[in-house]
């Protein structure tokens, strides 16, 4: 067996073993039954919740917030990134603040937005947007900076207009980095939405987890956690695969 296959087989073996443990440990009564439910019960409960429509509203709310915040982050992040790349002085002024941005516990601002906008999608979307947008801005600047000078010279030698220089040379050359920004922003948006809902909200899958915990509905809680984790892992793996497919050969 080749090494790559052995690596993959071992990895899946470990993941399956971990899942099996979640199934077996509660069945053997090794932990308090109100602390952990077997995996099969989580799946079954999730199926029931999906079938009877209990989760439908929450899923709809969460997805809407994710899409809204993500779209907003792209629409605002790209132009901001391009502007920052062009405005050398502004960028150097902001540099130390941008590198510190992700050190700030942004979720602490969530109550402030609840106070202003009330409990609803608005504060959730704002927090998720704020968490995601800077990743796009930073990656856009990095990508445009990393355009090989020789490509720029090619454009100059063809006397391209500045618009064409941007759309035909700079932007396409920077897309691998910008895509990385989108990928980060996607996972930050999901985290932003679900974490905010979890802290305090009136709807959403994140809210459902916290609500179930507070009402001792442990099976519902695990079902919703399972849904969130499967969704997040699938989204990240999907974007990673897409990135490899799109840019893998550009090295």
């Amino acid at each position: 067996m080749s090494e790559a296959r052995r690596v993959r087989a071992t990895r899946w073996g470990l993941v399956l073993a971990f899942l099996a443990l979640i199934e077996i440990i509660p069945r053997l009564g090794l932990v308090n039954p109100i602390a952990l439910v077997p995996l099969s019960e989580m799946v079954w409960q999730l199926w029931l919740l999906l079938k009877d429509g209990t989760l439908a509203d929450h899923i709809l709310r969460t997805l809407t917030s994710i899409v809204a915040a993500g779209a907003l982050a792209v629409v605002t992040g790209l132009p901001l990134g391009v502007a920052l790349w062009r405005l050398e002085t502004t960028r150097r002024i902001l540099q130390p603040y941008l590198t510190t941005y992700y050190a700030i516990p942004i979720f602490a601002f969530y109550p402030l937005f609840i106070a202003i906008f009330g409990l609803g999608s608005m504060p959730v979307i704002i927090i998720a947007w704020a968490w995601a947008v800077v990743a796009i801005v930073l990656q856009t600047v990095i990508g445009l900076d990393a355009v090989p000078p020789v490509l720029v010279k090619v454009g100059r030698s063809l006397r391209l207009s500045s618009w064409r220089m941007f759309t035909r040379i700079y932007f396409p050359a920077a897309t691998p980095h910008i895509f990385t920004g989108f990928k980060l922003a996607a996972s930050y948006t999901v985290i932003g939405v679900i974490a905010s809902e979890f802290i305090q909200a009136e709807k959403g899958v994140g809210f459902f987890v916290g609500f179930s915990y507070n009402n001792f509905a442990i099976q519902n809680m695990y079902a919703a956690i399972l849904l969130i984790l499967v969704f997040a892992v699938a989204l990240n793996s999907g974007l990673l695969a897409l990135e490899r497919k799109l840019y893998g050969r550009q090295g």
Binding site: A108, A195, I228
Partner: protein, 251 residues
């Protein structure tokens, strides 16, 4: 050139003042039902609860961070040195890094109980990944010839770690520790916001219920200052460690 440098320095110094002014103006425009003025927010911090909360949050973050640093370094270096297990586990750690971990907080509550234990454990879990992943990647990039020198001198494992691996990964490791601290602090605050009786996160959620705007704004400003200062100090340390003399170490 010098004129530009002066502009940049003045601009950087002005940013906090600009933010403060923006805050003041928004508070005046929106009214104190929605936004507390900086002066009111500062005045609200002059109470016993403030220092209790500061202590509770920082204690949990600090202990969680120490455990995350030690465990992350150990696991990361081990995985970096054993190529096979590194390959097996790398995608798994990256996946866990990018999921909304906060939804798993209820599990920490059931295992570690309500209070310091669960906050420390969750903060550790929230902050360990960048440390682990960066330590693993940096260890993989330790110059093979340096490791051969160590073996040719028959150095013990401890000596090899202390004299060759640690100095090689040190600059990257500091980056990991900086990111790890921010995430640990965020993890602790998220945990406190969801379920706790102490700390800034708890006070924030309390303040929403009581609609205590000055307290809320005071806490958020304090957290931003703490995060910024700690991050700036760690960043300075990091830049000193990867100065020009060490340029070769990065290869």
């Amino acid at each position: 050139m010098t004129a530009q440098r002066t502009t940049i320095l003045i601009g950087q110094a002005a940013i906090p003042l600009v933010l403060l002014a923006l805050w003041q103006v928004s508070a005046m425009l929106a009214g104190d039902f929605y936004i507390a003025t900086p002066a009111d927010a500062f005045a609200a911090l002059d109470r016993d609860w403030f220092f209790d909360s500061l202590g509770a949050t920082l204690l949990a973050a600090f202990v969680g961070f120490l455990i995350a640093a030690a465990a992350g370094l150990w696991i990361g270096v081990t995985l970096g040195l054993t190529r096979f297990w590194g390959k097996v586990l790398e995608p798994v750690t990256l996946s866990v890094y990018s999921i909304p971990k906060v939804t798993l907080f209820p599990i920490f509550l059931t295992v570690f109980g309500f209070g310091l234990g669960s906050k420390v454990a969750f903060g550790m879990f929230h902050g360990i990944f960048p440390i682990l992943i960066i330590a693993m990647n940096a260890t993989r990039e330790v110059n093979v010839v340096h490791l051969k020198v160590a073996r040719s001198l028959r150095l013990s494992r401890t000596q090899t770690f202390k004299q060759v691996i640690f100095p090689s990964i040190y600059p990257s490791l500091l980056t990991g520790l900086r990111l790890g601290f921010s995430l640990t602090l965020l993890g602790v605050i998220l945990g406190e916001m969801f379920a706790s009786r102490a700390g800034f996160g708890y006070e924030l959620v309390e303040a929403i219920t009581l609609h205590d705007m000055p307290r809320m704004y005071g806490i958020v400003a304090t957290l931003v200052v703490i995060a910024f200062v700690v991050n700036a100090l760690l960043l300075r340390w990091e830049q000193a460690a990867s100065g020009p003399r060490r340029a070769v170490a990065a290869r």
